[in-house]
Structures are given as C-alpha cells and as structure tokens.
Amino acid sequence: MSGPAADAPVVELRRFSKWYGDVVAVADLSFELLPGVTGLLGPNGAGKTTTLKAICGLLHPSQGEVLLFGRPIQHDPMLYRAIGVVPDGDRLYPRLTVRSYVRLHAELQGLADAGAAADRAIAEVDMGPLADRRLKGLSKGERQRTKVAGAIVHQPSLLVLDEPMTGMDPGQRARFIELVRLIGSAGVTVLVSSHILAEVERLASQILVLVSGRLAASGDYHAIRDLMADQPRTVMVKVDDARRLAAGLIALPSTVSVELDGDALRARTRSVESFATALPRLARDQGATLREVRTTDESLEQVFRYLVSRR
C-alpha cells in the first residue's frame, strides 16, 4: 500500500450526489474531515447512511467524488487498512462468538497477532465478560458494541460509525461516548451519524447537518445549536392527568402552546432544557405521574428544515 497523501484531508467529498432512478438521496454534498470527532446529524431519511456508505466505498457516486486520504477508495482496497466501519443494521454472523467475530476482523485485516488485538478491542468496548457468548444470544446494545470492537480492532485512522448507540442503555452510551472521545483525541478522524441532537452534542464539537440530502449547516456544534434554539420544539408527555398538567405547562414562559391528545399532551417549547427542568417539578407539585417524555422526530425535522430555509 502506498501511504496516504500527507497533506490530503482524511475524507473529502466534492459535489457528491447519489440518486436512484428519479429519487435523489444526496445532492451536491461537499465537505472535508480532519482528525477529531465530527457528528453527522439529520432526521431519518436525510441521506446520512448514503453519505457514510459512499465514504466507505459501498456506494458509487452518481456524480462528484469521494476521496479518502486523497484517493478514491473504489480503486484502492488497501485503504481499508486505515478505515474502521460500524455500518447500519445488524450485519453479524449469529453463530460466531464475540471473540471469533472480532478475531475474524483482525485476521482479514492481516494483523500479525489477531488474537491479542481482538482481546484488546473487546476489552475496550466492555465486552470481555461476554467474549465467549454467541452473537445470536446478545442484546442489541451488546451486538452494537461487538460491531464497534470489530471496527477498531486494527486501530484505524478513520472510524465511521452509523447510528452506533442504537440499542445501548444509558450506562453503555456514557461509556461508549467516552471511548469515542478518547479515540478522537488520539488523532483519529471519527465520523458518527445520529438523528438525536443530544447524542451528537456529547460526542462531537464539529457537526454536519444533512436535511433532505443536502448540507443544511456545518461547523461548530454550539453555533449551530444556537440557530436551532430559535425554533420551538415539540415534546410529547404521557401522564395520568394530562389536563391538569397542561394548565401548569402553559404558564411556563418558554411554552408556546399545549395540545391535549387523550392521556398525552404535546407541548411546543422554545427551550427543551428549561421545559425538562420544570416538568418533573410541576408533576410532583400536582401529584401527577409521568409515563413518557420525549421530543418528537417530526419536531427535530422542523428544526432542520428551518436551518435549510435560513441558508
């Protein structure tokens, strides 16, 4: 393998477009990635997975170029020595154990001591106690962590993660975020996709926002978040006495509107943070029991669309 070009960006997309028949998945996308963690944020169907697959060489651009270390990956499979990928979906061999799956990755990377590399990667994702369990018996979060171990077993200089925290519990997420930040701080270029704003906030300082296949915003997370903060977000709350809680919520200064929907209510707020702080207090004061609280994807999509409209 000839070494990566020293001055080339790790990843460079030049007017990359991908379409399937009449359907445009990604249009005219250009950006560069340098070492550190970058979040790829966007609602479902925004083109995140298409973009990541093109970067990994699984999809051919319909137009434009995708370069890794200055070269198109389709012409140079040896570039995969420097790349680790956690793709979307399950994509595991159910009969293999965690150890044999990660070891397979190490061996196909051509590592001299595949067993030791596999054990190290398994330990990094906290899967040591489950190393000899078959993959088909693991939870979704455990399988995700196994995929991550397979992706980092050869210590790549580019790590591509497509919705990696799907199925992980809060504790696993916290440890995973810590691991990704550690990898990023060691000089590895990490690109991680998510449709959850709070997830990306904890992972990455730089973000790319994709909406409907186009780059809606890019740069420092906090600057983009300030833009997003201008727009109301919708929070869905399931509670045993929605009507009484709604009366309390509408009195909050950040609340724009509240709609009742059976045992649930939908509140539009200018500040999810202040809403999240006030909600438990209100519920406690009124003796109400909260059953579910979540921001809706649709509202996030509205925020993304707002970003597009500002460009």
Partner: protein
C-alpha cells in the same frame, strides 16, 4: 495464513455450519447409496447400474441442486442479510472475495457429492469395481460442480431468486429443452459433464453416446466457467452494496 485463505476457510465453515451439512449429506447419500445396496443383491451388472444411476440421478438432479444451493447462498445470502460488508470493508480486492466465496461453494459441493458417489459405487460393485467408471464419474462431477458454481455465484449477484432461476435452468432447460433439441446441449452444463464422462469411459470400454466430444465439452465448460466468473467479478466491483 493469508487473508484470502482465511476468508475461504471462514466461508466454507459458514456453508457447512449447523444442521445444513447433515441435511444435504443425507439428501444426497440416501438416493445414491440405498439403490446401490439393493442392486448389490440383485442380478444386475454393477457397472451398468452405477452408470445409469449417475446419468439419471446425479447429473440431472443431485449435482445441479447441490452446487447451485451452495453457490447461490455463498455470496448471495451475505448480500441479502448485509453481512457481506464485514468482508468487503477489508483490504482484500473484491475479485479475491468473490474467488474465496466461489471456491468455498465448489469445495462444499464436492465434499458432499464425491464421498456419496464413491460409497454408492463401492456398495453396488461390492468392491472397487470399474476404476474407469469411478474416475469418469468423479471427474464429470468436478467439471459440473466448477461450472454450476460459477453460474450460481453470478446469478446470486444479479437477482434475489438466484436458486430458483438456477434450478429452472438445470431442470427445465437441461432436462426438457435439451432432450427435444439435442443441439441445445452446447448450452448445457449437463451436456459438458456427459462429454467428459464419455471421454473417460471410452478408454475403459464402457460406451456412452454424447453429442459433445471430449474436447468440445471441456472447452465449453471452461469457457462458461470463466465467463460467468468474469461477469460476476465485474458485477461485484460495480454494484452498490445495500
């Protein structure tokens, strides 16, 4: 161990994992060995019996079914369930990945077919019997497996129902069309295997009339195999992986 060899070993293990191997072995061995057991006690010429069994059961049914089953699932099942990304996102050229998957299908098929044929032959002949017949059957099986597997791998890259289409080719085209239009045997893998079998048997005194001569059969089998693999490589290199 090289990466390609590791991939071949892994792919072979995947094909033969679990109960699949037991099921395929039983399905192949029973129709070959059981008639041979009964024939060995009857007043029939073992060589003629074995040759008939091979031409009427192995070549038209067992060989294509086994080879197409393994070859369409070798790469095709990984494409369908997405696990192929574990292999393609590695520093291994795609032609080498395809080659390992193809060889795994060939080896798995031969691992099932050849022992069953040998056992059936030995039981029917109550001993080694005609070595020319045995050599002809084994060589024809190898040639047929190599060609059917190339076709199966190609079909699995082109369509979702590759096994169905492959079996339709083997059972309908080769079984029905070729029997009423013998000139179509130049487009029949079964025709090539019979040509190879006839070439070996001719030297051993067992006559077998086939439309294709040994040279034509061998050349055509090689051309079909190489062409199918070349098209499969081209397809794998150009396709988007879901």
């Amino acid at each position: 161990m090289s990466k390609s060899l590791r991939l071949l070993r892994f792919s072979l293990g995947q094909l033969l994992a679990g109960r699949r191997l037991v099921i395929v072995v039983v399905l192949v061995a029973l129709p070959l060995v059981l008639p041979a057991v009964f024939a060995s006690g009857a007043d029939v010429d073992p060589a003629t019996f074995t040759l008939d069994l091979f031409r009427q059961l192995v070549l038209p049914v067992l060989l294509p079914v086994v080879a197409l089953t393994f070859s369409t699932s070798s790469l095709g099942s990984e494409l369908r369930d997405g696990t192929v990304t574990n292999l393609l996102l590695k520093p291994i050229p795609r032609p080498a990945v395809l080659g390992a998957k193809y060889l795994a299908a060939v080896l798995a098929s031969l691992l099932v077919l050849l022992p069953a044929e040998v056992v059936g032959h030995v039981v029917a002949a109550r001993g080694l019997g005609s070595t020319d017949l045995l050599a002809g059957m084994l060589l024809a099986t190898v040639v047929g497996t190599v060609a059917y597997c190339a076709l199966g791998v190609l079909l699995s890259l082109l369509m979702a129902r590759a096994l169905l289409v492959g079996l339709a080719y083997a059972l309908l085209w080769e079984g029905a069309v070729v029997s009423v239009a013998p000139s179509a045997s130049s487009l029949s893998i079964r025709g090539y295997t019979e040509g190879v079998l006839a070439a070996v048997l001719h030297g051993g005194g067992l006559g077998l009339d086939t439309r294709l001569g040994p040279v034509s059969a061998t050349v055509l089998a090689a051309v079909v195999t190489v062409a199918a693999l070349a098209l499969a490589v081209r397809r794998l290199e150009r396709m988007d992986i879901p």
